[in-house]
Structure formats: structure tokens, C-alpha cells
Assembly symmetry: C2
Homo-oligomer: 149 residues x 2
DNA sequence: ATATACTCTAGTTATTAGATAGACTATATC
DNA sequence: GATATAGTCTATCTAATAACTAGAGTATAT
């Protein structure tokens, strides 16, 4: 399951990517636009900032903007930041391997074999999808009238 | 994350598949062999039985055995039974779709698009892996000396 | 009969997700 | 340099759930 935190983070980043440019967006506006509880969003944005995916400006005219090129922000990073490793089981994780206590012989554990496949497939997708590539996909699906309006 | 329940279920089923045949295996033996808390395992096995993946025999000489051909028991069924839909987000589920409350336009939601890909990839793996195919994979990895021993 | 072994109901405990409150700090602008 | 603006930080709170446990009940083989 994707946590709300991770989901909100992706939504917020996508919104900021869509906006683009140098104009920061206020938390309150982001929260309203994306239907996210503001105080909850604040913590999420802060965390994204502390990991370089966002930058912030205080005071009047302040707010948040992307911390780097949206081509270089991948869903995998976002999801790992909030939800931990992608693997369904710690012993199948590439980035945060942990041995299982139960498990006679890890090398021939069926659960691990299957879950490693799931992890790999998930990582291929999430580490292969950047904010900008996801934006492009969304754009292609958006009806022309909605884009004009 | 895969729950312990789902993990134990797969391990138990795999052990019973390996055993094969008509001889039932006692809960206590299964629990010891697979390092699973017995009372916890009891509930899991019962659930698997109630969904046709196992059958049971009471009394002396009783225990559990597979409810059908291991070629027809897929990881996807097991995981869904204990952990619910495979999709990381309910709006991306094929088998248990639920709309999100937040979400202006579902058709162009970036989160949903990406998570649908993850779901599809996961389903392709788990619904494509049966107990017997997984067993075969494990066997191929088992060193010859372990098989002889 | 009786021992065996599964079945069922009802807990317990610890952790975490999701959200909220409020004080604090930096900055733009007049 | 006062003041409004807007992000930053700490501390909680609550409800839900995962993981596990206890114990009485029921069916079956011998």
C-alpha cells in the first residue's frame, strides 16, 4: 500500500512541476488545490525539502518550488522516502536489505524469489518514471478543451 | 509490504506442495518446520482451507494437505486473500476498485497512472506464479547435496 | 472411551498512519 | 524597524491494524 504521505508528496511535486518556473507556490494554495490537509502537507513538503527535492522561500511572496530539474526527480525516490524500501519483504530489498529471522536457507526461499521479482518490476517502473515523464503522460491524456480552459 | 500472514501462508503451502501426495501434515509439524508461531499458523491454514486452497482431516493421522493441484494455486490468490488488492492505491485496483475522495479527475491522475503500472506488473508476476512453478524454481536452486541429504 | 488434531471465539499488545495545535523564525515591504 | 507573510519545528492525539495468544469446542481414528 502506498501511504497518504507518499501519495500527497507525488501530487504536490507534480503540481509544482506543472507550474514550473521560478514562482513559488504557497502551502495553503497547494493544499487547497490538491485537497490535502494543510498541516499534514507542511510536514511532507518539509521532508521533501530536506531531501533536496524542493526548495522554499520564506516571507511574503514565498512558498515552495522544485529543488531540481523535474527530469531528475523519480517516483522511486519519493516513495522510498516516505514508505521505505520498495520490496514487499525486507530480505528482497536492494537498497535496504535485512535478513529474515525465520528462513532456513535464504538462497532457496520461495517467498524471497517471488518477491524479488516484484521488487525488481516495481523499481523498474518507479525508478524509471520522473516527474517530467509522468507530467507528459498526464498531458497527453488531458482533453484539449481542459487544456484550453 | 507483504504481511506475515501472507508470507507464512505461502511458506506453508509451498511446504505442503513439496511434500505432495495424500499424507496430511500436522499443524504442529508445519509450524516447527517453517518457524511459524503455531496458533498464528492455525488461523492462517483455516482461512486457506475456507478458500479451497487446503483441505483438512481431523483426528489421529489428520492434518492439512493441498486443496487442489499446485499448478492451480497462484501467489496472487494467496496474497489477495490476506493482504487485499495488489494495487498500491485502491483506485488502481482491477479486482477491488475504489474511487479516491481527493482526486479531481481520475482519468488524468498521475499517481493513479503510475500505480496502475505497478499493479499490472505485480499482478503479472503473482498471478503468473503457481505453487508448482515456484517449487520448480526453488528446486533448481537447491544444491544437489541438499537434495540427496 | 479416549487420545488426537483441527475449529472457533475472544482477547492482548505494540506500532503506525494520519492528522492537529501552537509556538517559533526568517523575509519582504512600507 | 514595525508588521504582515509564510515557512519551520516540536509535541501530541486517535483510531486502526498487525502479530500473536488463550482456551474452550468438535470431529475422528483406534
Amino acid at each position: 500500500m502506498l501511504s497518504k504521505k507518499a501519495k500527497y508528496a507525488v501530487k504536490a511535486l507534480l503540481a509544482l512541476a506543472e507550474r514550473g518556473g521560478e514562482e513559488p507556490m504557497r502551502i495553503a494554495d497547494l493544499a487547497r488545490q490538491e485537497q490535502i490537509p494543510q498541516k499534514f502537507l507542511e510536514a511532507i513538503l518539509l521532508s521533501l525539502r530536506n531531501h533536496g527535492m524542493l526548495q522554499s522561500r520564506k516571507g511574503k511572496g514565498g512558498g515552495y518550488l522544485l529543488g531540481r530539474d523535474p527530469k531528475a526527480i523519480y517516483l522511486g525516490q519519493i516513495v522510498r522516502l516516505f514508505d521505505g524500501p520498495l520490496a514487499p519483504v525486507p530480505c528482497a530489498s536492494q537498497t535496504a536489505y535485512v535478513r529474515c529471522q525465520d528462513c532456513q536457507d535464504e538462497a532457496t526461499c520461495g517467498v524471497r524469489l517471488a518477491m524479488k521479482d516484484v521488487r525488481d518490476a516495481t523499481a523498474r517502473i518507479l525508478d524509471g518514471t520522473s516527474l517530467s515523464s509522468l507530467r507528459r503522460r498526464v498531458e497527453r491524456l488531458t482533453p484539449a478543451r481542459a487544456r484550453r480552459g
